[in-house]
Amino acid sequence: MEEVINALMAAIMSNQVNIPLLQPLFRLMVQIPGAGFMVSFILWKPFFAALISPGFATLGILLLFFPWVERKLCGRIQWRVGPHEIVWWLGGIIQLLADSLRFLFQEVIVHKDAQRPYFLQFPFLTFIPTLLPLLFIPAGSIVAIQTPYAIQIILALVCLFPLFIIGLGWASNSRFAFIGTVREAFMYFAYEVAFIVAVLAMVILYGTSDLVEIGAHQAGWVWGICINPVAAVVFFIGAAMATARLPFEIADAEQELAAGPHVEYSGIGFGLIYVICYEKAYILSGLMTVLFLGGGSGPQIGVLGELSGLIWFLLKTFIVMVTLFVLRVLYPRYRLDQALNIGWSSLLSLSLFALALSIAITAVAGAGAVAGAVGGGIV
């Protein structure tokens, strides 16, 4: 028994998040029985990655504050203020807390035409594809599950997003939800192929689909976006389509379809749907950061150890997310056929071009070592 615990401890201790700044404190904590185990368990990489950062806790904080950032920034661009009066000296920073409390305590209406069990289940089920990819996205060297199939798994889960939205719409059993669902299905096919091909281009470029390794490849300043900008553009547009950001907010067009698949949801059901869209954006932004923006690379802050990579990763992800969300102040929405046209013609051909570019670069520079080689060449 003791052996097992010891082995477990050893396994945990061998895979700790290394933070030089806090090391003395941890050493102190280790002296205390129980607390020591707690600290080392928390700092155990897979646990830390999945539940603290970039996983659950970070996501939770992000969900509480990101919509505020988005609303404030959009407000600013639109010559107004955004949420403000709730604590006006802090610019209304806890606005989302009020909104979520309100959703939590509000009546949940299931109208009589809805497919009751599914109507209630789907908002929760949607969390499966939106939360699981978090396990595979590395922030610097911190990752919950490191596997050579990370990209494939994430892509598979990302491709599940629309299914659940279609489920929501179907369970709602309302005309606008129906139209929205059909549109979602159409949009799904429009971006999916190009999106996957763009990722594939990067996989070819790096010669691996292990995201930690991909991150490590871009350790210098030569990020994926510099080597294959076309793929980055395709990925970004694909992400905008996948998260239904304007100008591709076609399935839940509020002015046309009264929010499409979400039209019948109220209270916490809508609250969940509301945050899911931010979660999706978080995952795709994280993926974009790792694939194109160098993951956790950046000037190493010595005292923070591995947290340094984490911070750079979060910062970049945040910027990508803001860019995704600020699109809504910039563009009106495309019509469905126009979006399909973009997806199936421009985007697809661009992605194929990106693929060709990757193949060409790889052929010239030799597989696997591309990033390093090109990077070395430039530096």
């Binding site: 407000g75 010559w79 979520s100 309100r102 067009a253 910039l330």
Partner: protein
Amino acid sequence: MVEIKTAEGEKDRNISILKTGVLSPLKRWGVKWSLWPCHFVTSCCGVELAHAFACGFDGERLGTLNMGISRQANFIIVEGTITRKMARALRIVWEQMPDPKFVEVIGACGERGGLFWNSYNITRPSDIVPVDFFVPGCPVTPEGLLRGVRAVQHKIEGLDRTTIKFKRVKLPSEPEPGQGKENMVPSSPKVFAPTPAIKVDIRRDVEWAFGAELVKRLESELEGLYERITITDINRIAIKTLPEHLTELAGRLKSGLGVDHVKNVNVIEVPHERKYIVEYMVSGYREDLKPVIINIFTEVGRKPDGEPEQEVPSIARLWASADYSEREMHDFFGIRFAGNEWMGRNFILAPELHTPLRKDFKLDEERYVLEGETPYAPSIKPPTELELPLPPGLLEDAEANEELVALVGPHHTGSGHLRWILRMKGDIIVDVIPDPGYVHRTMEKLAENRLYIQNIPLFERANISDPINMHLGYVRTIEKALGIEVPERASYIRTIMAELSRIGAFFYDSGIFSLFLGHSTGFMYVWAIREMILEAMVRATGSRCTPSFIIPGGIRRDISREVLELIDNFTSAIHRRLRKFEDIFIYNPVFVARAKDVGVLTKEEAIRCGIVGPFLRASGVEYDVRKVEPYEVYDDLDWDITTGDAGDCLGRYMGRYEEIKESLRIVKQAVDTLKSLPRGEIISKELLGEYKAASEDIKGHLFHVYGNLVLPRGEWTTVTEAARGTLLYSIVSDGESNVPYRVRIITPSWLNLRGIVEATKGERVADFWAIYGSFGYFPPEADR
């Protein structure tokens, strides 16, 4: 059948829900800062609602995020009038919302009825849903609206209070020495002629050479079909005919003379002469016919019970533009137009309101003495059922053709205050059926019961995003009847105000258009510009949206030099923000992609459906009332008509945008001229009589001068170029009463409705909102 009625105890249910449970403080705090109003635009206060939530005041600061969908909202802001038709939607939306939910009513119409207090088609929201707070105003200011939001927040906190406190003083109790012992209550100031003599074709000798020629031509062309042809005024001809000759006469006018559209269909009931007069006002877009309005009228007998003795042949087959107005007249008077395929009900759903515009349908009279402690308001029973009927057979027909029917509105983020019935096959719209009448506030009937001067604010409410042009048209009709010349200075000020109003209306429509396409920044940017216009308006007149500033003979008061300076600055200050707006919206490639080649109306189609104003010009017809029949000082200023050829959404929009640049030119020139004009008379002394001293400011003498205004006998028709097109007023006066006998108002939005329908057919579903937005349709204006 569900009875609509606010039940006892409903009013504070929201608070009692919040007060229960251990987590009550958290619940209250959350709800307090997260009141999401569901976007339920019911009437014209919606304009100020938009201002309150746009960049001028930004309601989102308070945590109130405007949300389109009832299920996700917890707050209704009832924006003014709830008609009998809209009441059903209001109750449905309220029922759809999750608890706890709050209601704020803004605007006088939603309280005791405001200007429409004795209208036959309104209800009081407080009878339909429990209301937490009422905000007075017409419309309310954005501050008032936000004050209501604050009041609700305070109520959630536990501070349920009215936000004004009056101090009572003791009134004098001693009668003045020598005061009469008996006090008589004076009678109503309104004078109704008991047997008014109604004649719509009174001959007037005017110098109009083309008219004489035209009459000769008409006489030879219409040989045997007419009873008499009269020149009633410059550019106005009346032709009397028999109902059985109507179709043929119209056909000959169309083929022989090139008359191509109907401006107005009107019915005048003369009960004591046992007849209805049915009028068609037609005109043509041929160069020489443009200013001419030919009034073809016929008389139909009236049975003692009010029913017409015979049907009138419809001319909608000749001129499609007559179609909707014929339906409307059927709704109001019960006259059947034989051949018009749809003779159902549009505006009025209540069975007890059969043909309300007939004279035997009486409205409640004003009371001038306060009895007891409640002001007089007629008792109104709210409608008893929630159902909003669909055209019969529609669903079966759609199912047979494998089409999907979707009802857009009246509660829908992209519907405005009317319902659109979309029939779709896949992503293609097969047909769209408009269901107007949700804001039908019965202006024509009310106008027959009010003094001429009291109708100025009334008609202004038809469209408070373009208020000046609305009442300018009405006032011009009165001036035409009385033959008054407006002082030059007043005329310049009117022109400036009318153009500012036009600019404001364009930006209003532009904002709604961009919102329909999902572009909220476009909306916000123009609302900042509108805020500037309203600032100029409030400084000049004292009211942001409803100035009621133009009165017969001039304007209410002069505007100061500082305000003039401000308007002058505005014409150049607007450009900085406009350039940004251009970059982010007008030339945005996504917007261009959405609007270009969508909803195309060719010149012929546009004329056939009878659309007007900038939308007609965008299809290539060069017709602008300001050029064709110049009024005010438009003739003295240098500006151009804008036309286009495309006839698509982008063409319509850009045409209006260029027109606004012309408007800015007009304003600039007029302001420059006005600066050099000496201050002085702004109301025609001719009209003031004894009160000439008030010619610089009407303050103190409005009722003396205008209370007893009587128009000469006859029918007076004017057209005005409002922001969205030709606005037609036709006043019938008996020459004795100081209230109009009949006022007919045809608003541009009402005429444009058919254009929207025609342009939408065959387009994609999402294009509907692009087309709808490009037409700048303003439902209160259309429903009147």
